[in-house]
């Protein structure tokens, strides 16, 4: 019984914290975007616009809730719920603090001891695309449908590198349980963080996570220039807010995963180690974890205004021609190292070598393409660059 109450309380606190964080992350993103573009950002509601999220939330609540006349009502209403539900559900197995030395009556994970944690997260977060597809389809709007089609193709393509890049970590640690993944890194210290042995996997994971969360430069399913609003064109008021919350929760979950899988979770040398036994050590560990996650989120926001959006064929090429083969090769490398009992540090040069190998292939493919274009077009009597673009 006490366990049930603790669980319910943890859920309430976690969901409340996530939703509030999302509101303020949106403010932060708007502010950061403004700063990057030499604007000021929201600054009318309260000092520095700190009450802007409240105003936005209120606006979402009291706005007219439009359902298009020809829309499929049930699915139209279900889609945003699915979108938010699945992303929130994924958070159940993500530890947001030091699980091993949590104080009494405090839980740092909603569902502890889930041995298939990573699999669960991928299973549930890839369900989020149902929300997108249903929403786009039920809207009875061609732009929405196009957006949701793009989203489905994109999510299916990026699920594969996302999952396979994590398999390397799972193989190294011998566990799919996120608590144990963190514990393994914390035990080994700073140089045991998986970023050192799996830098390539970290890169692939982060890239695919951006694509999974529909963040720029991979937000093709909702790019305004081509699709009005994408799958949520017809959505307004609270239903749109649910989609938005779901998307941001996805970003938060993915940032947590990046930190937990590759950057040592709550571990930080000297400050927060498994041995640190000073009073309030758990609080420090939580703060370390949260600040790491915060840095990842800020980095995602920086990326948003740094890299232009991919074209759809480029997006597909990146996944199928680069990320999937790379993550496969990386996984095979980890398997080889584990099987023959080599020093795990071999994985660092292997990762870098793989990355360089792909770079060289990319260069030679591009050069071959240019050469080919040269020859073909001269035969036709046209200027080499007069034809189609890249």
């Amino acid at each position: 019984m006490a366990d049930l109450i603790t669980t319910l309380l943890t859920i309430a606190v976690a969901v409340g914290a996530i939703l509030t964080t999302v509101a303020y992350l949106i403010l932060l993103e708007r502010k950061l975007s403004a700063w990057m573009q030499d604007r000021r950002g929201p600054n009318r509601v309260g000092p520095f616009g700190v009450f802007q999220p409240l105003a936005d939330g209120l606006k979402f609540l009291i706005k007219e809730d439009v359902i298009p006349a020809r829309a499929d009502k049930v699915m139209f209403l279900a889609a945003p719920c699915i979108g938010l539900l699945t992303t929130l559900l994924a958070f159940a197995v993500v530890p947001f603090g030091p699980v091993n030395d949590q104080p009494a009556y405090l839980r740092f994970i909603i569902a502890p001891h889930v041995d298939i944690g990573i699999v669960f997260i991928f299973a549930v977060t890839s369900l989020a695309v149902y929300g997108v597809i249903l929403g786009g389809w039920a809207s009875n709007n061609k732009y929405s449908a196009l957006g949701s089609l793009r989203a489905s193709a994109q999510v299916i393509s990026y699920e594969i590198p996302l999952g396979m890049s994590v398999l390397g970590v799972a193989l190294l640690g011998g566990t799919l349980n996120l608590e144990n993944v963190v514990a393994a890194q914390a035990q080994g210290g700073f140089w045991q963080w998986y970023i050192w042995t799996q830098p390539l996997a970290a890169l692939i994971f982060f890239t695919s996570a951006l694509a999974e969360a529909n963040r720029l430069p991979f937000d093709l399913s909702e790019c305004e220039q081509e699709l009005v609003g994408g799958y949520h064109t017809e959505y307004s008021a609270m239903k749109f807010a649910l989609f938005f919350l779901g998307e941001y929760t996805h970003v938060i979950t993915m940032s947590f995963l990046t930190v937990i899988l590759f950057f040592g979770g709550w571990h930080f040398p000297w400050i927060a180690t498994p041995g640190s036994a000073y009073v309030g050590a758990w609080l420090v560990k939580v703060l370390v974890l949260l600040s790491k996650v915060f840095s990842v989120i800020v980095f995602i926001m920086l990326i948003r205004w740094t890299i232009p959006r991919f074209r759809f064929d480029q997006l597909m090429n990146l996944s199928w021609k680069a990320l999937i083969p790379l993550s496969l090769a990386n996984m095979i490398a980890v398997m080889t190292v584990r099987q023959f009992g080599w020093n795990r540090w071999w994985l660092l040069p292997i990762s870098i070598g793989l990355f360089c190998f792909v770079g060289i292939i990319g260069v030679s493919a591009k050069r071959a393409e240019i050469r080919h274009r040269h020859g073909a077009s001269q035969g036709a009597g046209l200027h080499p660059l007069g034809g189609a673009g890249i």
């Binding site: 740094t306 990355f355 770079g359 990319g362």
Partner: protein, 226 residues
């Protein structure tokens, strides 16, 4: 190369060779991140905080009209209807009346002068048409009202605008003569200076001054003003 490439008017640009680092995307991403981070750390917003911070408009800005007064405080307008005729939006409505006998310098004056600020397109042609420099456009741009009637500016309102703006350095009374009447002299008047300082490179500075009619020597039109 083909004959097309020899044509000097066309500059063919070769696609640059892609190198190893370009193919990996990484240096480009790092460069881009440096740019975005530099904008955050070295934050110099260009936004103007409008209601608190008013813009400094160029001197030739065309805002709300005013009807100028002469030295005796009378309305300068002689109800000649040139502005109403010139107006492309038909927003000026003048009712002319015979001038009082104590005003010997003119025949008519506007008994009513109504200008619809909502219809006006602020082209400034009334100002150019006016032979006695009575109507001018000021720099007032934030014109608001609660009804359409409120924005039908009559003679008194337009004179009020003059009283408000006559001392503003940005709205100098642009007449050079200070007295009424001899519209017929316009052929011999000096060229009207533009309201804004213009650089010699401007095309408008090189053209014969607009609105000046040379009655005698049309050949002068081709000559640039010195």
């Amino acid at each position: 190369m083909t004959a097309a490439a020899d044509n000097q008017d066309v500059i063919w640009v070769e696609e640059p060779e892609i190198g190893f680092w370009e193919a990996t995307f990484l240096p480009a991403i790092v460069e881009g991140l440096k740019t975005t981070i530099r904008h955050v750390t070295n934050y110099q917003p260009v936004t103007q905080q409008y209601p608190e911070e008013k813009p400094i408009l160029p001197l030739h800005y065309r805002g709300v009209h005013r009807l100028n007064r002469d030295e005796q405080g009378r309305v300068k307008c002689v109800a000649c209807m040139l502005c109403a005729t010139a107006c492309p939006a038909n927003c000026i409505d003048i009712l002319a009346a015979a001038a009082p006998p104590q005003w010997p310098d003119r025949d008519k004056y506007p008994a009513s002068f109504v200008l619809d600020e909502l219809r006006c397109i602020y082209c400034g042609m009334c100002e150019e048409a006016c032979p006695v420099d009575a109507i001018e456009l000021t720099h007032i741009y934030d014109l608001t009202g609660t009804s359409r009637n409120e924005l039908m500016y009559d003679r008194e309102k337009l004179l009020d605008v003059f009283d408000q703006t006559k001392d503003d350095p940005r709205d100098p009374t642009r007449t050079r003569r200070g007295r009424l009447g001899p519209a017929a002299e316009f052929g011999s008047l000096p060229t009207v200076a533009p309201a804004t300082p213009i650089t010699p490179g401007d095309r408008s500075a090189q053209a014969p001054a607009p609105g000046v009619i040379h009655p005698h020597k049309p050949s002068d039109w081709s000559r640039k003003p010195s």
